[in-house]
Structures are given as structure tokens and as C-alpha cells.
Symmetry: C2
Subunit: 249 residues, 2 copies
């Protein structure tokens, strides 16, 4: 489909076409397209820009990643489709491992996704050899790698489902999320949630990593001052304000 760059929703339409194509290639699950649509609606409600609350959470995420002993960034089909290269760069900048972790499990999709991520350069992608299981979550989604998620102290889980976020918390990990719904279980369960669109959030986190790389004192101050629930509250207020502003009649 031809999309005119003048269209009011040009960027969103181009991303939709890309997601559709990657769904045909088996990278994005069919129901991943539905999940993307949910995200789109929340992005529309937060104003399709990084809010001050999100910026603040993105700094906290950068601080947590830099303070971690053994950080892991998980990538599922939607995160790969939307933001693979940026996520891989972030991982190498903070020394995090990368592990593929999918909601709709099949060995074929797992292999496709690992191979897809390997096309972006010389990154080690965990996920082919899932030799451990998380507790407190149903079987397929419990699978993970011993040297990755299983032994991580800090995990960044972009676009993750609530069950897995909760299981990771119960397993004692610091959980960092990128999620456009400030009221989702993932958002609420996590230690720091960026309520922001992933292609805006990850470059912001990378910038914060640069700013905080050599300043451990400030990182620890940011972490100690950060309150995820009050930050989520700010995002909800932002949605309510946007709705009020659009009530022009």
C-alpha cells in the first residue's frame, strides 16, 4: 500500500506495514500484531511523545542496567520487529546479555527470531538452548537459558506480558519494563517502567547510559529516589489531561 508522507498518521502506518511483513515472515506472531495495536492506542493517548515521567523512568532504567552485576535484555517478536538494532546496541553498551523470549512458543519461531537478530551484526543471542525454567509461570513461557535470564540479577523486558513480569519478580530479579499501558500488570509489577513507545524509549535509555556511565554516585541517587508507582501515576494523569484537552466540544 502506498502511504503519503503527508498522512497525519504516516509513521504509525509505515510501522504497521513493517510489522505485517515481519508477521508474514514468522518473526512477529499474528497475535503480536494485535498487541501492537493495543500499544498504538495507548501511545495515541499519551500524545505520541516521551513524557517527563517516561524520561525519568528511562534514566532509572539506565542507572539500574549500569549498576547490575549480570543484566539481561529479553527480546520477543514485537521488540525485534520494532527496535532490534537499538536494543542490541544498548545491550553492548551496558554489558548485558541478550536472550530471545517469546510468548507464543515454537522452536521454529524461536530459531527464526534468533537468526533474525544475528543478521544485525556480531552479537551473541541466547535462546536456542533453553536449559532452565522459571517457577510460577505456565510451562512454555517458563523456558529460559541458565546463563541468561535464569541467572540475571537485572532484566529489561520490553513489551512483556504480566505473567512473566511477575514470575521474574518472584524469582528475585530487578525488573525493568517498557510498556505503553501504565496500568498493565507488567507496568505495575516492575521496578522501573518506561511508559513510552519502544523506538523512543531505547534511544533515550542509551543517552542516559552515556550520561551516567562515569557517575556511580548519581546512578545510585536516581535509583534510590525512583518510585515506580508514583511515576506510573504521572503517566495516567498525563493520559487524563490529554483526553480533557481533546474534549473540545
Amino acid at each position: 500500500m502506498d502511504i503519503s508522507p503527508d498522512h497525519p498518521r504516516y509513521k504509525s502506518l509505515v510501522i504497521r506495514e513493517k510489522m505485517s511483513k515481519l508477521s508474514d515472515q514468522g518473526i512477529v506472531a499474528r497475535t503480536g500484531l494485535i498487541a501492537h495495536g493495543r500499544g498504538e492506542a495507548f501511545d495515541y493517548l499519551i500524545g505520541e511523545k516521551t513524557t517527563p515521567a517516561a524520561k525519568h523512568a528511562e534514566e532509572a532504567i539506565a542507572a539500574y542496567l549500569l549498576e547490575a552485576q549480570n543484566p539481561v535484555i529479553t527480546i520477543n517478536g514485537n521488540a525485534a520487529a520494532l527496535c532490534a538494532e537499538e536494543l542490541l546496541k544498548l545491550a553492548s553498551e551496558v554489558g548485558a546479555k541478550v536472550e530471545v523470549n517469546i510468548f507464543h512458543w515454537s522452536s521454529e519461531r524461536l530459531e527464526k527470531l534468533v537468526s533474525y537478530l544475528e543478521t544485525f551484526g556480531n552479537f551473541e543471542i541466547l535462546g536456542r538452548n533453553q536449559n532452565a525454567v522459571l517457577e510460577n509461570i505456565a510451562s512454555d513461557r517458563a523456558r529460559c537459558c541458565r546463563e541468561g535470564i535464569y541467572s540475571a540479577d537485572v532484566v529489561l523486558i520490553p513489551l512483556e506480558d504480566g505473567d512473566r513480569a511477575k514470575a521474574l519478580k518472584i524469582a528475585g530479579k530487578t525488573v525493568l519494563a517498557i510498556d505503553l499501558n501504565p496500568l498493565s500488570r507488567t507496568s505495575v509489577e516492575s521496578d522501573a517502567t518506561a511508559v513510552d513507545e519502544i523506538t523512543r524509549a531505547v534511544p533515550n535509555i542509551r543517552q542516559a547510559v552515556k550520561d551516567l556511565k562515569d557517575d556511580q554516585k548519581r546512578r545510585r541517587e536516581i535509583i534510590s529516589a525512583f518510585d515506580n508507582r508514583s511515576n506510573l501515576n504521572e503517566s495516567v494523569n498525563c493520559i487524563k489531561d490529554n483526553l480533557t484537552q481533546q474534549q473540545i466540544f
Copy 2:
């Protein structure tokens, strides 16, 4: 995928699986899945139930359909996947024609969709022979049938895009919509918009048709009293109230 009926989002997950399957069959467009996800997010925000405002709009839609000289109900891929049988029953109860009208046009998808609707019984489905064009809209989406949309005085357009809603208004038609986003262009352009999930909205409209069938006076009172913008405002307020209620922290 096995989904437990105990899952808090069981109904929504079952519908997602159905939409995915119909997407594989070519009934639902890939980007239709994304649009469905957007709707899901708004349904979550309005509380996944018919609000008093929606109920009121559904009555107005029933009244408009019964008062029409030549009503048409349009059905696209998502509307067919979610609600084909109910829409066809509504059409026969109000004497409306049914016309297939898709956003991602291809003669193959059009044929698939018409054939799919024909499996529901002895209904005449317009759309194979698109022999007219609407003005004020880009080429593919302008196509319609002379004996259907083109000559209708009242059109019910469930889950329709804003460009087409606007083109139908400019063409002088009374436009009735079912749309979960109270701020969408479709919602705002239409004469009556039910901000409700389609599988709840259509049975409610059918019930209102039964109630109003023999009461022209009441129908005309409902139409003359109905103010779509103030009704949409009520739906936006309902979303804001729901957000506030969920801000428990």
C-alpha cells in the same frame, strides 16, 4: 494455544485467536489485527461493558435505521470476523442492504469476504460489482455499489476509517458508526456513534429495533434529542473516571 477459561482476559484471548485464524484465511487483513488491538485498548479503558452513553447511542442508531428510506450496513474484514451473523440479522430486521467495503482493497479479498458472508445463510451481499465511486476519498477506497452505499440515505459503518466516514458525510448521508475510540475522526464525523465493542453493540441495536419497530413517534423523538458530540463527551468522561478509579496507588 490452550487458554484457560479462568484467565482474567479469557474472552479477549479467544477472540484474538479467532481473528488470527481468519487473518490466515485472508478474511482479516494483517493490519486489521493491529486495528483490533487498538479497539481492545479502548474497550479496556471504557471498562469492557456497554456504558449508559453507548446504550443511548445504540437506541439512536436503531431509530435512524428504522426511519431510513434506503439503509445500508457496510461490513469489512474485522466486522465480519467479529460479528457477521448479528450484523446480517440486524440488516434483515431493518430492511437494510449489506455491502462489503474493505480498507485494504484487492479483488481477491473482496471475493473472500463476500463468500464468507454468504456462508451465513440466504442473504444478498453487495460488493462484487463495484460500479460507482464516492468523491472526496482516494481511489481504491472510493469504490462502492450504485445500488448500495452510493444510493443509500443512511449507512451504518462498523469499525470504519475516518476518511471514508468523512466522504460519506460529504456525500450527504446520515452516518452511523460503531467505534471504540470516542475521539476518532469516524466517531466525531458521524451522526450517531456507539462507543462500544461491536459484539455488544449490535445485539443492543437489534433489541432497540424490536422496541422501536412500532413506535415512529418515539423514534423521531430519540433522533431529534440525540446529540452525538455530547454523547461522545460522556464516553470520554467515562474513560477518565475509569482511569481515576484504577489509580489506587
